[in-house]
Symmetry: C2
Subunit: 345 residues, 2 copies
């Protein structure tokens, strides 16, 4: 019995509880609770005594117990691909900002594009009873979330729709953006245009590829297989892919890069070329305007996407929304030079 007491006392390294504060202030437990939560009905004198005890003991309310009692954690989870990616930093920050406005904290997790890890993270967040989830999906089957949705966990998907479940999704107009970007190249006289992008099993990559194809078809240009390189993002392979489409029997005069990582590598490759090759990239990159030439991109607004998703999440939590929706945000073509280079052949 004394042992039990000892253990409980060292539990959080001797953290005082409301009971301790109450004892020291000579009041009841509930009175302490009232003071801590700013509830009315406490005499100034009593409040002063309690506050004194709180300061003296360094008391800090235990939110775990509070959550258990109240059922709301005032925290939301954000599962994304990789926080180190410059696209996700601002996105995460804007989600945090909205959460903060609603008094909630943000728990971040990186899935590293691994579906299993995504599920693991999401379920861990659910076990902590986050009030809501913003998920940038890595996998394409999210039925494992059904019990959670039924239990009332607000959920918004971002960047790619959820697989096999009906949920809100906020994303950029990947198709339209890519189509416009490629059309821009065509408008500048290009016909042999290369495409380097991620695996089509990734929704954004598939949509952008579709946009590329649509633009080419609209212009009546048949696409050669050698112009497309899919499932390629690591620098080494992008380098090889770009090299091939630039030197083949039917060399391209322009390249459309499917995402920011690809764009960066393509810039490097093009810098080594003697021939001038046009480039439009999907996603903006920092300092793109300072390069020679400036890099023309199809930009998405990561912060705006995050804000929109988080807004929707909290509206779900307020019980305002019921029907899952798909929200597509427009992209913006930013011309800086690289996309306006005329074909050299």
């Amino acid at each position: 019995m004394p042992q039990t007491h000892l253990r409980s006392a060292t539990r959080y390294g001797n953290r005082p509880t409301m009971k301790d504060v109450a004892a020291r202030a000579g009041v009841g437990l509930k009175t302490v609770s009232r003071v801590v939560n700013g509830e009315p009905g406490v005499t100034p004198e009593t409040e002063r005594r309690v506050q004194e005890a709180i300061d003296a003991l360094g008391f800090r309310r235990n939110d775990s117990a509070r959550v258990l009692r109240k059922g709301r954690t005032a925290s939301i989870g954000l599962v994304l691909e990789d926080l180190a990616d410059p696209f996700y930093g601002p996105l995460s920050r804007s989600v945090e900002e909205v959460a903060r406005a609603h008094g909630a904290l943000l728990i971040n997790g990186s899935s590293a594009e691994d579906p299993e890890r995504e599920q693991e993270l999401v379920l861990a967040l659910c076990a902590r009873r986050v009030d809501g989830l913003v998920v940038i999906p890595a996998g394409d089957d999210h039925r494992y979330l059904e019990p959670e949705l039924k239990a009332g966990v607000a959920t918004v998907f971002v960047d790619r729709p959820a697989g096999h479940i009906d949920a809100d999704v906020v994303l950029s107009d990947n198709f339209g953006g890519a189509r416009d970007g490629v059309a821009h190249l065509i408008a500048h006289g290009h016909r042999r245009i290369g495409f380097i992008g991620d695996m089509p099993r990734i929704h954004t990559a598939a949509e952008r590829l579709r946009g590329y194809r649509a633009a080419m078809e609209d212009a009546g240009i048949p696409v050669a297989d050698s112009w497309m390189s899919l499932g390629v993002t690591d620098p080494e392979r992008v380098r090889r892919a770009a090299g091939e489409m630039l030197s083949g029997p039917d060399p391209v005069t322009a390249v459309f890069a499917g995402n920011n990582r690809v764009t960066v590598t393509v810039i490097r490759v093009l810098a080594e070329q003697t021939r001038r090759v046009a480039l439009v990239g999907f996603d903006d990159i920092e300092l793109a305007d300072l390069l020679q030439p400036g890099v023309t991109v199809v930009a998405q607004d990561a912060a705006e996407i995050g804000r929109t998703a988080a807004d929707r999440l909290f509206r779900q939590l307020d019980g305002i929304l019921v029907t899952p929706e798909r929200i597509e945000l427009p992209t913006r073509l930013i011309t800086r030079g690289s996309g306006e280079i005329p074909p050299a052949d």
Copy 2:
């Protein structure tokens, strides 16, 4: 009484509890707990029945209750300045990676360089009983953390030391890095070198300024006041500051930029100059090698800093460390061209 039951049932939107699972499986509550936690002492047959009930009900353990009971949350907090800053993304990611290896989740918070907000965030994290804290300080007085430290919250400061308390800190060798960077300019013949940095009340800024002064003094070069611009980071003011030191009566032939944001703006200003001015920046920036000329920088390894800090945090949690230490990580001078431009005067 029936009302109470109704409320409890709708608490988390009808989330099943171990009690519900136990009832459905026809076993005791504790048996469910054992199955969920993989504890021994359950027949395969019983386990099967329990597992079935769990799946049927979509049960997910409530970690809030678990935490309350066990005293460990398996989560750590990271308070930084701004997750959208390219320096902090990789840092956060590497902290997350270490946390993950220890089975912990990461809660992120951005202080926006506001001391009050920092404190608010840190205390909110403490109320949630995070096991540990990694803090990039915004304020310079952290005595408010004393009760927490005493209560056993592991804490590591990053980038700047804690104020008025004794705690671990992991940072770059800001002084040495800046001194080396400036010495590099001096070695290339410069004598009139400008310095643009943040307010000296920020530790890193002060250290870098000290490094600048040390390098100049080592070379026996007296520093003119008009060469130094402190407390300047927003583009507009950097622009003005740079303009002044480039056009004054005693114009500089080289600039040392105190952080990544300053560097970017200075690059823009220099690009507009006819005269060629040398530049070395503190912090690496993306694509720095693709610019004309490439940007010479003093680089810190954000990921390594995060990893080191998180490692130390968990070592504290394992009870291995006792004495707070200051760990300084080396910086690396990366020459790319802009720092090797000879003085033009």
